[in-house]
């Protein structure tokens, strides 16, 4: 299986990538990051761009750092490189947990954080975690840089707030060093992608939940926050009873007619999974809360 023919350009800087995007705006152009969504789609004929602009080698877009209270993740940082960074686990526990469950070792060595969030596959693991982590997507285009809050970022299947001439340069995650987080995923038995995946990030004070963000993949055609669950959690404790009660409202506020339904799982089954995996994510969060509190 070969991809169709295309022209290939390697960008060595963000400016060069933006110029190349502008120069080839008349053709069907794709940015190439880790290639682990794009190349399979090109090989199977689902996608046949005329031009590929490789941004994977741009040095400035690699690496994980801490800037004040913010974890800064370069868009072209691979999953493996993020998992190797202690700061990611410390400051973004829910996000790091989700990254650890993407694909397999070889996929994690190639795929990138920015490529994943730009692609916005509804069965991907990162949208829910980015929502739970209150991430900001930083994009750059011909008109300069702009910050897109994650709550305004996902539009639909493979659709985001990004403009065609823009690229994601980094993802900023406010430090959740004092919170506990987890990700619980029901992988598709064939592809390993998320049939349903729930990311939770919960802050407690003296055993009482002071804030909670919960994001879900695989439910709608884009990542979504489970606001009813978040509201149910705040003010309670993270014990078995309140976890059950919060998970019981997992589908509240989610339009049933918009629930994904495909060969993998019917909408009805996804609703059942949503509740079950919300419970699992919250239980894991509670377990993680104990050791973090002792730090």
């Amino acid at each position: 299986m070969f991809p169709d023919e295309f022209d290939y350009y390697e960008a060595t800087s963000v400016d060069e990538a933006i110029d190349l995007l502008a120069e080839h705006s008349g053709a069907e152009t794709e940015l190439l990051a880790g290639g682990h969504s794009l190349l399979p789609a090109m090989k199977s004929g689902l996608s046949s761009p005329d031009v590929l602009i490789d941004v994977g080698g741009i040095d400035d877009l690699h690496g994980v750092s801490v800037d004040g209270d913010t974890l800064v993740v370069g868009a072209m940082t691979s999953y493996s490189d993020l998992l190797d960074a202690d700061a990611a686990h410390k400051h973004a526990p829910a996000f790091a947990a989700a990254v650890g469950q993407v694909g397999d070792e070889q996929v994690r060595n190639r795929g990138t954080i920015g490529g994943n969030l730009a692609h916005a596959d509804p069965a991907s693991d990162l949208p829910g975690a980015a929502l739970a982590s209150d991430a900001t997507i930083v994009a750059e285009g011909p008109n300069g840089e702009r910050e897109i809050p994650i709550d305004d970022y996902f539009f639909g299947m493979y659709a985001t707030a990004l403009d065609p001439g823009e690229l994601v340069t980094r993802v900023e995650i406010p430090s959740a060093a004092g919170a506990a987080g987890a990700y619980a995923k029901k992988p598709s038995p064939s592809s390993g992608y998320a049939m349903v995946g729930i990311a939770a990030l919960v802050e407690t004070d003296g055993g009482t939940v002071t804030s909670a963000r919960v994001g879900a993949n695989g439910v709608l055609d884009h990542g979504v926050r489970l606001e009813a669950v978040e509201e149910a959690l705040v003010g309670g404790s993270l014990d078995q009873e309140s976890i059950e009660a919060a998970a019981a409202v997992a589908t509240d506020g989610i339009d049933e007619a918009m629930m994904m339904s495909d060969l993998q799982a019917s909408a009805e089954f996804r609703a059942t999974l949503l509740e079950a995996y919300t419970k699992r994510a919250l239980r894991a969060t509670a377990e993680n809360a104990a050791p973090r509190a002792a730090d």
Partner: protein
């Protein structure tokens, strides 16, 4: 169609070649350079038979363009043994019957080598998780897990160096034999 001049260093040998932009790394290695130890199974990023090391990391070479690997160090299954001396992982697959038809084996070994580099003492569960991206249609995986455990043990005990020098070998104490020959 664009063609590109690229350089790939495979198992320490530098190769200059010209490839189409769409040439996959797996095909460049097999068809252009003759490293046919790298197998192609599913061609769809799922089976791991095509796994090689790209700058030290296990990747599925059917899911990378050769141009993306320009300038990189690549290690294929042919680069595991040191001359006639098998790598610890190769000896372990042989001893534990970690293969039947052998189709998945090059990829299994390349992923295992990275796994053992990152985690020299993995549990059986960790071995299974680490090899999640490699499928085997023959063995039922038990003997593959046994082989990785066996290799882990010999690498840890220093009995077999990364590159395959065995303990009862009189050169085992020679520090110059402890490297796999990979230039990184």
């Amino acid at each position: 169609m664009t063609e590109h001049d690229i350089t790939l260093t495979v198992n320490g040998t530098e190769h200059d070649l010209t490839v189409e932009a769409r040439t996959l790394l797996a095909h460049a290695l097999r068809d252009e350079l003759g490293y046919t130890g790298t197998n192609i199974g599913c061609e769809s990023s799922l089976c791991g038979a095509c796994t090689v090391h790209l700058d030290g990391e296990a990747v599925k070479s059917c899911t990378a363009l050769a141009v993306q690997a320009d300038g990189a160090e690549i290690r294929t299954v042919e680069g595991l043994a040191d001359g006639d001396e098998l790598h610890a992982i190769q000896r372990a697959f042989q001893e534990e019957h970690g293969l039947q038809c052998g189709y998945c084996t090059p990829g299994m070994m390349m992923t295992s080598v990275e796994l053992l580099k990152e985690n020299p003492n993995p549990t059986r569960e960790e071995i299974r998780e680490g090899l999640e991206g490699n499928l085997c249609r023959c063995t039922g995986y038990q003997n593959i897990v046994n082989a990785v455990e066996n290799a882990a043990e010999s690498l840890r005990s220093g009995a077999v160096a990364d590159g395959g020098t065995v303990a009862d070998d009189p050169t085992a104490d020679d520090p110059t034999t402890t490297d796999g020959g990979e230039s990184k």
